[in-house]
Symmetry: C2
Subunit: 708 residues, 2 copies
Amino acid sequence: MESVVTNLLSEVKKQGRVHLTEVESKEVLKAYHIKVSTGYVATDQDTAATVASWLGYPVAMKILSPDISHKSDVGGVRVNLDSPEAVRKAFSEIMQNVKLHKPGANIQGILVDQMAPEGVELVIGATFSRQFGHAVMFGLGGIFIEVAGDVAFRIVPLTREDALGMIQEIRGRKILGNFRGKPAVDVNTLADIMQKLSLLLTDHPEILEVDLNPVIATAAGAVVVDARMALGEPKRISKTLYSSEEIITGMKRIFSPAGIAVIGASSDPSKLGYSTVKNIIDGGYKGKIYPINPKAEEILGRKCYKSIQDVPDQVDVAVIVIPAKNVADAVKALGEKGVAGAIVISSGFAEIGNNELQRELVAKAIESKVRILGPNIFGIYYTPADLCATFCTPYTEKGPTALSCQSGGVGMAIIGYSRSHKMGVSSIVGVGNKCDVDEDDLIEFFGQDPNTKVIAMHVEDIKDGAAFVKAAQKVSKEKPIVALKAGATSLGERAAFSHTGALAGDDRIYSAAFAKAGIVRVSNLEELLDCARSISKLPVPKGENVLIVTGAGGLGVLLADACSRHQIQLMTLDKDLDEAFKKFIPPFGATGNPVDITGGEPPETYEATIRLALEDDRVDALILGYWHTLVTPPLVFAETVIRAKKAAEAVKAPKPIVASLSGDVEVERAATLLESHGVPAFPYSSEKAVVVLSALYRWARMAGKIKS
Amino acid sequence: MESVVTNLLSEVKKQGRVHLTEVESKEVLKAYHIKVSTGYVATDQDTAATVASWLGYPVAMKILSPDISHKSDVGGVRVNLDSPEAVRKAFSEIMQNVKLHKPGANIQGILVDQMAPEGVELVIGATFSRQFGHAVMFGLGGIFIEVAGDVAFRIVPLTREDALGMIQEIRGRKILGNFRGKPAVDVNTLADIMQKLSLLLTDHPEILEVDLNPVIATAAGAVVVDARMALGEPKRISKTLYSSEEIITGMKRIFSPAGIAVIGASSDPSKLGYSTVKNIIDGGYKGKIYPINPKAEEILGRKCYKSIQDVPDQVDVAVIVIPAKNVADAVKALGEKGVAGAIVISSGFAEIGNNELQRELVAKAIESKVRILGPNIFGIYYTPADLCATFCTPYTEKGPTALSCQSGGVGMAIIGYSRSHKMGVSSIVGVGNKCDVDEDDLIEFFGQDPNTKVIAMHVEDIKDGAAFVKAAQKVSKEKPIVALKAGATSLGERAAFSHTGALAGDDRIYSAAFAKAGIVRVSNLEELLDCARSISKLPVPKGENVLIVTGAGGLGVLLADACSRHQIQLMTLDKDLDEAFKKFIPPFGATGNPVDITGGEPPETYEATIRLALEDDRVDALILGYWHTLVTPPLVFAETVIRAKKAAEAVKAPKPIVASLSGDVEVERAATLLESHGVPAFPYSSEKAVVVLSALYRWARMAGKIKS
């Protein structure tokens, strides 16, 4: 099949064309065993009628011209023709229409085609971006796709789950099922077509855009009735220079250096070169610190060196805080000294339009084999090494979450939120202009880092999408990766010849790439930070059965609403389990889900119901709603939950528990207490607990931790 | 027209039917000058062919039977018949189909109908709920409506804005415009049809359900091709007992009493009757307090009375904290004493299934002309009267927001959040079982209350929807009303004969009612609380031109993303305004919107750009993004904003300003300072500032404050 397509494509290129005709596109599809409607090209009325009689009536007729992409728009399509007379008449009408609407078009004839069986009209397509390569699209056809934009995307290559997931994702999926008396369409054939298309694009990446529109699906299968393709150069952004091992070796030296130099260290407290040295010292770094400044003897009590070459010992990383124009030379010197990486705080590069200076820096870094973080960043924090290599204030609260951000502004919010919420972190990294080290390097490093259990990222753009997806796919199998993708950055020029291309909003391609990578996408900064702080506290759920136990009926309703917005499935209780809950709660309380134990209950009722939920194997995760009362005050509630959790975990595997606390300000202390015992808890909120649990679930589903 | 419809409907009722046939439904529509396709009923093939020749070919044919509602499902519809032969053949085929699929149906004949012109297929319908009466629906027809559920609802009676707003609201509205070369459809005619339908339902409320499906719309107008209607008893929940004046007079006495009694006062600190008296005293209440307890002489230093009758002076309100079974009698005694209202904290009524006891209480209240708050509530706070009539802790921070909640659990969250965020309130009210006083009474009272500027409500259900909408419509013209509607409460039985009925999810009807009432609906507790705290601080925007000025480019992008999610329109800057901003910011900063002044800038740059935005008449509202730097630390930023705001407000009308603060923990103090100067500010957040501004805008649009 390879050679058929290869020959056909080279013939098209030879003719200087980029668009394949319908007939050519269908030839390509046939080579990949995708079923297309059978047809022949006729150049006169009589041939058309003869062809129609071979095919059997009714037939469809469509103008065939390399100059005409949108055939309907020029009156070039007629359908449901059921006699030789009708075919002849249609032939001359189409020719007239086309001459009128598209004079001078090179007309190859009229394609006489089998009428597709009655079925559901779908569109399957593909588009290409420099970051992520090809993406396949699936959607309902006809006006649906154009009007409602109800489509799903996945990045090539497509797995079976990808293909079936796209079908599940569209709002109009109902129409594919048993609908209006029509039997359900054969979704397996649709998934086949998408996977075959994915294979075609992998084999022939120069096919940049595809529209199979319509594809007619029935219970018996699916057939492509019309097809268009466009060729081009599949230019990918690729920056792969280092192997996974090289990345990790370098990063380990950067994040846990035996010695750190500060190029541009200063004893003037108003300079970044001063605060950087001070922060490294104040942060409690135990390794060797080498201030570098040709004019100083000593800075902050540390011996100062004229140059990096003067340092007698091994240096693993250097922080650079000198003017932009001198940075490249400094990196060269680092290379000569055998320094693994440079944290370039200096600004004045691409972010202010100095692209040339940045290119020079990159060239020097590659040549010298020095990894560059930045430029234009606040620095990095890595608490396992007590390292605060930054001009901001030190932050030393240890914990399992690594955060990175592309914007320094967002970085400051991470530091402030962390301090305010006592969020333990393994690392906070600014990637800034990310001229070298970027998200995929960090994912590689944090992936193998035993001090990091969760990765949270603020991302504005991804450069080498393939490297990013590959690294994340590997790591997200075991560690949740949560990302906030700012929406305004465009993927740059993409062709828009196809419907698919027009529908492939950049944001949708990013979502598809994140899904492929197993990354949980969140909507805003507060969600990123809440998830960063809380997800690492939670065990992985075993299944989808989530239960709400609440002391406040009203809060239970709001939590249930939030679950339905965030794809959390509230389990239906078996009768025996429902009865078991009933035993513990007042007769006017409500079982079912939420279990409403009612407001006036003592700690014993909370304890009994929570233990029941945690110890019954059918419950996979628990959402608690608390109502501040005199009978069960906030801290008593917190202690009760902790006791119940401990007791249950003595006999059963831990389950994720999150809590929503409704009460006077004492609930804030209760939340802190709960959090320190592995129960993320949120005062005055009906949404946050659910958002966090939902992020955990979305990750666990993608990572294959939950059997569905 | 009245009499035609009245006669027709009474004829249908006389026959014991509830469903109108297509022909009858169309007669009703014609009486209201809604254009329907012309047709005649034929009972044999020849008549059918004759009718077809009168109408002109092609024609459609449809089975006519009071027993058949879904004609297509029984093979009862044929379209595009273009000859007498085709009509004859179709006649016999339809009859055969119907006999096969619906044996025994009473067949009145076959309706031979004009084929509708080619156009866009729409559905217009109506449904009925006991809370809100009729609602009209608008949506795209065909599979669209069933598959995507892309429909809009408005409560009857429909204004022109309602009708046009529904058309704007559907996702597929694009198809109504200039689409695929077809001219735009005549939306005015569609709005006419919806308003005429609204009038029909007002005149004949016994028409509970309507499906006009399809309505074919073209550039020249619209025609109803098929129609179905169902009759029933339009039972509304109505509890109107008091006039607006009576409500307000009563509420004024309840919220600002000259004397307050506590029925069930106690000197035992473990009793609610103790904490209630204590809170009234500790809250600083200046009026007279009368503990009532037959067994005590004095409680908390106040003279205690055996009964309410023993109190020498006027009592305006009584708090009741005695066992449920004694409450009705206590209310009777209050009535005899001339007390205006009772705050019934006692529980043990409908919330635990004691419906009878609650009915008794209501009967007694009506008889005694005593308004009842509750039962089963924590009480009420009204700060202008220094009144904390509750068993919870006192809360006395004065401010312009009145909050109510249907759930005590949510009430405790309101109190905790208020205290934690120092939110000034005029009132916090629990409505609990709301056997008498409910949201519309509160809206009436807070609407005229000079101490209240914003109303925020947690609502689980609405009982008398008409009273609620009427009160809110009046008040929301001047004061924002924000509501969190918990989604799980059903409207109870509604008929589901029509598509419309099936699509009218209870949540959608509530949204339609809130829209009619001018109420801003929010999604969760945190949004309700943030809006409650912040909206009152903001002036009303004059127009839709919103500008982002940010020191952190990354934060600006996230804020812009949030704006697009929350229907905030980022203005396009005129060239001169863009140039004016450019003068203040570094060459590598970005103008446009967001205006990115870049991170390293001093306070002067913030000040100059903020003043420019506030003093230029084209900017209507401002979103600030702050990035914590050494050059402009958090408190300096806050002071700068306050100074710029004051300077601008000396020469121009105030504009809404909200701020998102990214930085270390000092930003929390900056936020507090900004808030105290009328700038709602949110640390570590990219969403909240936009949510608050969006709520203000949504209100201002509905209240007609913004010319669009």
